[in-house]
Amino acid sequence: MAELLEVRDLVKHFPVTRGVLFRRTVGQVRAVDGVSFSLAAGETLGVVGESGCGKSTLAQVLMRLEPPTSGTASFEGRPMFSLRGAALRRWRRDMQIVLQDPYTSLNPRMTVGDIVGEPFEIHPEVAPRASRSGRVRELLDVVGLNPEHINRYPHQFSGGQRQRIGIARALALRPKVIVCDEPVSALDVSIQAQVMNLLAELQGEFGLSYVFIAHDLSVVRHLSDRVAVMYLGKIVEIGTEEEIYERPTHPYTQALLSAVPVADPTLRGHRDVIRLTGDVPSPVDPPSGCRFRTRCWKARDVCATEEPALITRVGAHPSACHFAEERHVVP
């Protein structure tokens, strides 16, 4: 598989300011702080982590909705962050996003046809005006909605159906990559399965690549080929779906997996349970050295002074821990 997207040392800091008349910067929220990964054509990269780990900021920067503080990314070998004008518009067709909340991400005053067809207004070269309504109907059909409903408004649809509208909109320009930011988190279990199956089908049909961001580890495993685990703006471990879930080596990944409740009451009391104490530290003032050390049971002096690099120490995949070792935590 050829690399479609290559991200190197991506950093996004947001300034924290004080004062009204004389605004001064008193600190930086280090939302994304040195993230590197690659994405191949047709591949799904899952990104997991808890709130505040920077996964949604990563999505915003990848979509160029927020400019990066530093770092590079190339799309099909061409630098992505320096694109301007016509080249930028052309690139935007290739990368689309599906957002978490199907209630606030669709304009309530627009019909479904207008929402799904709006990308064609901005990129008229993709579909001539005469063929647009036909294309929109096709798209609605592809995501499993009734094409007859083209003139309805978002409030006439359920949450799962609205998420399908969001997916149809993302598909309109035939993108190569879709960034999915928590696309099924707001949905009920029975509806979640329908949308996940749809995403998997569309990937096969259109050869899409996904950056799939979610906090639900079961959902991520189901859809991902490779998985990156984020903590406080950094990737702490990255590997194939099997490596991360069956042979995790970073203590944070292990704790995260161990905290997921398992739907089997006979396993009660027979699981390897790791309980973290406390909350995630503030990204304004992250701990020195390894950022996980304040909650880590393995932490020693070296963890406070030296930041562990994301390299392969044991097994076959990289992990940012001085004391990385395999531990089987998923029953």
Binding site: E50, S190, A193, H215, L256, P265, V280
Partner: protein, 324 residues
């Protein structure tokens, strides 16, 4: 029996018509027991809790039939004073969104102390001391300083802990937890579930856990009540329910969940959508989405079929479903 809900019917009278939100819900909780109420949005799991607590908004909500009994005493017809007393030290409740459940303009300490001063007649100093003890109990670090802080100064997990402390202040016999960990991250969720289990064990408190998460249910519940469209479709102990679900809806729900321990292929889905409560289908409310629906499912509401001790399923074919 500590707390008993019997044949509860609630309807919402709206501009669009009457929504039948609860259609004969019955369950009970004993001391020291964890009962999980499992259901998707709109199944009526939270409305049942609100009816128990007497905090339904009337109008539009009306309890049209049924009873809620606490130690055998009917609550639905009790005086407002009596209900307030039961809410104080009988049945307490915690909510999903701790930030909106706590008052932003008072300190966390004040909100815990208020009930102690009003209901227990404690002095300010005694109430403050007790509030610090309670925050300690729910493992809020530096409780002595934290007691003077406001809800917005707490993290999500700490707010949920503060709300638990508040609910425990008057030693309730039953705690109703409405999606207590849904807004929290998994590592914090695990901490909060451990805390609830510990408090329940130590105080022999009845715990009603309202959730949509099958995993959480499997880890803590003694008994499980599955709700769909304002009805209880299945009741069973945790091991039996997860071992062999007795209702097609429960079975489908379990199969549609992605697994942590295997990648799996396509997920099984439940076709269609949950019904509008304004127009609940006749017969079994699940029949339009059920893979084994037959003519009888459309014409007759299924009875509660007994499937062994304390186990029921509201399906015409319950025995076949449970047999696989």
């Amino acid at each position: 029996m500590l707390l008993e809900v019997d044949d509860l019917h609630v309807e919402f009278r709206t501009r669009d018509g009457v929504a039948r939100v609860l259609n004969g819900v019955s369950y009970h909780v004993s001391a020291g027991e964890t009962v999980a109420v499992l259901g998707e949005s709109g199944s009526g799991k939270s409305v049942t809790a609100q009816a128990i607590m007497g905090i339904l908004d009337t109008p539009p909500a009306f309890v049209t039939r049924g009873s809620v009994r606490f130690h055998g005493e009917e609550l639905l017809s009790a005086s407002p004073e009596r209900r307030r007393a039961v809410r104080a030290d009988g049945v307490a409740m915690i909510f999903q969104d701790a930030l909106s459940a706590l008052n932003p303009v008072f300190t966390v300490g004040f909100q815990i102390e208020e009930q102690l001063r009003v209901r227990r007649g404690m002095s300010r100093a005694d109430a403050r001391a007790r509030a610090i003890e309670l925050l300690d109990l729910v493992r809020i670090p530096a409780a002595r300083q934290r007691v003077r802080e406001y809800p917005h100064q707490f993290s999500g997990g700490m707010r949920q802990r503060a709300m638990i402390a508040m609910a425990l202040a008057l030693d309730p016999e039953v705690l109703i937890a409405d999606e207590p960990t849904t807004a929290l991250d998994v590592t914090v969720q695990a901490q909060i579930m451990d805390l609830l289990a510990e408090v329940r064990r130590e105080r022999r408190m009845g715990l009603v856990l309202i959730t949509h998460d099958l995993g959480v249910v499997a880890e803590v519940a003694d008994r499980i009540v599955v709700m769909y469209a304002g009805r209880i479709v299945e009741q069973a102990d945790a091991v039996s329910l997860f071992g062999s679900p007795g209702h097609p809806y429960t079975a489908a729900l379990m199969r549609s969940r992605p697994r942590l321990d295997a990648k799996g292929t396509a997920l099984e889905t439940i076709r269609g959508l949950p019904p509008s409560l304004l127009r609940i289908p006749p017969g079994c409310p699940f029949h339009p989405r059920c893979p084994r629906a037959e003519a009888v499912c459309v014409s007759h509401v299924p009875p509660d079929v007994r499937l062994g001790f304390g186990r029921t399923s509201a399906c015409h074919f319950a025995e076949e479903v449970v047999g696989g």
